[in-house]
């Protein structure tokens, strides 16, 4: 009886496992699933876990990767509102959000979904880029730059399209990948940039010369000022000295004749400091001593 019990338990367990395998399926963390009854979607599963189903051929389960997938579109040429031709590429992150909608639309094919997405992206880009000027795409003023707005507008347009068509796809994010110009336009941009550079070169040269001249002139002015100040100080110093000497000078007033005589002597001495030749006749003292000497004047 004991052995029988064990056998029964094991048998029951085996049957249970078999039944579970038939009736239960798992959905992993990164998956979504749809259950179909005779091909018709009846249950949508968004949460991971174990679920019940009727065995084949009544019900079938289709599981899809619900993680974010990357998709980039081919570049397309679009005209901005101010008639600039731009070549724009976007990248997106999309995922399967509703397996019961996704499965019948695309039969579970990711490439089919992406080509539908690409069409929607093309339309959305056409619409959005045509509503913006080039200055919305590139601008040094952050307030006028509408880069993020453009991305958001394209994303909203695509998302609206996805909801309308009930594709079971959600667009998680969208960003601009490339903004380029047609090849011929790059050439004219180069011409303009070249002209800009030439202007910059001239400006640098002109500014350099101008600033250097200003600096030098300022230096000269400061130097002249410094010397002028020094000269003023020198005059003041002399003035002070003369003022200090003034009381002493009164001494000379006691005898102006003597003073004038002494001044004349000094002046005479002063004048003979330089290389001087004096011609005297022999009546001038002290050469009058020579006056009556026998000389060779006669023979001359």
């Amino acid at each position: 009886m004991k052995r029988n019990l064990l056998t029964v338990i094991i048998g029951a367990l085996l049957i249970l496992i078999f039944v579970l395998l038939l009736f239960v399926f798992q959905v992993r963390q990164s998956e979504v699933a749809v259950v179909t009854t005779f091909g018709k979607p009846v249950q949508n599963i968004n949460q991971p876990g174990a679920y019940f189903k009727w065995p084949w051929p009544i019900q079938k389960v289709y599981k899809f990767d619900q993680r974010v997938q990357n998709f980039e579109d081919k570049f397309s040429q679009n005209y901005t509102r101010d008639n600039n031709n731009l070549i724009v590429t976007v990248y997106t992150g999309w995922k399967i959000s509703d397996a019961s909608a996704f499965y019948p639309k695309f039969l579970g094919s990711v490439p089919a979904a992406q080509s539908a997405l690409e069409n929607m992206l093309r339309n959305a880009k056409n619409a959005v880029i045509g509503h913006h000027d080039l200055s919305d795409f590139v601008n040094t003023d952050p307030k006028q730059l509408k880069f993020d707005e453009i991305e958001a507008e394209i994303q909203q347009a695509v998302q609206a399209d996805l909801s309308t068509n009930n594709y079971g796809i959600s667009l998680e994010f969208l960003g601009l990948k490339k903004i380029e110009l047609p090849e011929s336009v790059t050439q004219s941009v180069f011409v303009r940039m070249n002209a800009d550079r030439q202007r910059l070169i001239d400006k640098e040269q002109y500014d350099g010369a101008k600033e250097a001249t200003i600096i030098r002139a300022d230096a000269d002015r400061q130097a002249a000022e410094t010397i002028a100040n020094a000269q003023a100080a020198a005059i003041r110093i002399r003035g002070e000295a003369e003022a200090a000497a003034a009381p002493t000078l009164r001494v000379f007033e006691k005898n102006p004749d003597l003073y004038i005589f002494l001044l004349r002597i000094e002046a005479m001495k002063e004048s003979m400091n330089q290389k001087t030749t004096l011609i005297f006749d022999d009546r001038t003292p002290p050469f009058d001593l020579f006056q009556h000497l026998p000389t060779n004047t006669v023979s001359q």
């Binding site: 020198a234 002399r238 004096l278």
Partner: protein, 369 residues
């Protein structure tokens, strides 16, 4: 029932035939007894095997996680634990066997590197290594050459290398099919977006590191927004003007250097002129001070001499004058070239004619020196 009696050995009735008649079938079928023995022993083997299988079944639940990876246990597809606890670190772990539990291992390399794929002209790794590059055509083909449009609608080449590590491997693995591609897209977008806000000269020269920081900020912002679970470690940006305009960009650089040099020259001129002026002015002041001091001293000396001479003069002015003059002339004439012309005998005045060479003008000595 009678057949079962022999099994009750405790009833104590000695039946001579009993045991014989009871054991007869077994004895009759010795081969079946052998079979039974064999079955019993093989059943024991089966039991051992079954136990081993059960042990193996549960033992298969052990797994190791290496130092460069994390693991997540999915029970019926659902991760076990919450938040940080979902991730099992390096070591030995146990899970229920498949299909109840499933172990997902996530490799975590120390550092991931990703480079931008836009913004740079067409080049190959070999060309990069050798430093040679194909001559640039007159224009840029959008299908081949990458470039960026700057905020002042100029064209520039720029590329960026991002180093990051995965902070949250759970999101990185379970939310994205190819998260590293998403990082790359975000990097490209950040480069495009940042270039669209900067001027070409700022990217190349004036604001190189603000540009780099702006790219990094954008990457961080966007990966935060998309819950990528990464941490940016380093972000290196390289930029250059279009090759078609390299020469003229270089000329601008040279012009800037020349301008800087002119300014440096002007500044050193300023220093020189000012220090000269300071030297000169201190000389002027010194001279004035010395001259003033001399003047005062001289006046005092003169006054003293005057006071000394005055009594002599007062006693006989004519004599004093005469004496003093002769003495002074004697002193004065020592260094002077002299020419004494005798008076003519006939009392007529003599005429002297001199031929003078004009001397070179002497430098003027400033007064007071």
């Amino acid at each position: 029932m009678s057949e079962e009696h022999p099994k009750h050995h405790d009833h104590g009735h000695p039946h001579a035939h009993g045991p014989e008649s009871d054991f007869a079938p077994e004895i009759q079928d010795a081969s079946s007894q052998a079979l039974s023995e064999a079955l019993r022993s093989s059943f024991a083997v089966v039991k051992i095997v079954m136990v081993l299988m059960v042990v193996a079944f549960f033992g298969s639940g052990f797994f190791t996680v290496g130092p460069q990876e994390k693991a997540v246990i999915l029970r019926f597809g659902k991760p076990l634990g919450e938040g940080e606890n979902r991730l099992l670190g390096a070591g030995l772990h146990w899970s229920l066997p498949y299909p109840i539990d499933e172990v997902v291992k996530i490799p975590i390399t120390e550092q991931q590197i990703v480079s931008s794929t836009i913004g740079w002209y067409h080049t190959t790794p070999e060309q990069e290594l050798s430093g040679e590059e194909l001559p640039a055509g007159p224009s840029l083909n959008p299908a081949i050459d990458g470039y960026l449009i700057t905020g002042d609608t100029n064209i520039i080449h720029s590329r960026v290398t991002l180093r990051y590590h995965i902070e949250d491997p759970f999101d990185f693995t379970f939310n994205f099919v190819a998260a590293s591609n998403t990082v790359q897209n975000i990097l490209n977008n950040a480069l495009l977006y940042t270039a669209a806000r900067f001027k070409v000269d700022d990217i190349l020269l004036n604001q190189v590191s603000p540009f780099r920081e702006a790219v990094q900020n954008r990457v961080e912002e966007q990966s935060e927004e998309e819950h990528l679970g990464i941490i940016v470690e380093q972000c290196d940006v390289e930029s250059r003007p279009p090759r078609q305009l390299q020469a003229v960009f270089d000329q601008v650089t040279i012009a800037r250097q020349n301008r800087d040099k002119a300014l440096i020259d002007a500044n050193s001129y300023t220093n020189q002129v000012l220090s000269q002026a300071l030297g000169e002015s201190s000389m002027i002041i010194n001279q004035a001070s010395v001259a003033s001091a001399n003047y005062v001293t001289n006046v005092l000396a003169e006054a003293k001499r005057f006071n000394d001479l005055e009594p002599l003069y007062d006693s006989d002015p004519a004599l004093f004058t005469q004496q003093y003059l002769v003495k002074a002339m004697g002193e004065a004439l020592t260094n002077v070239e002299k020419w004494v012309q005798p008076t003519s005998d006939n009392g007529k005045s003599t005429e002297v004619r001199l031929m003078l060479n004009r001397e070179p003008p002497q430098p003027k000595v400033p007064p007071g020196s």
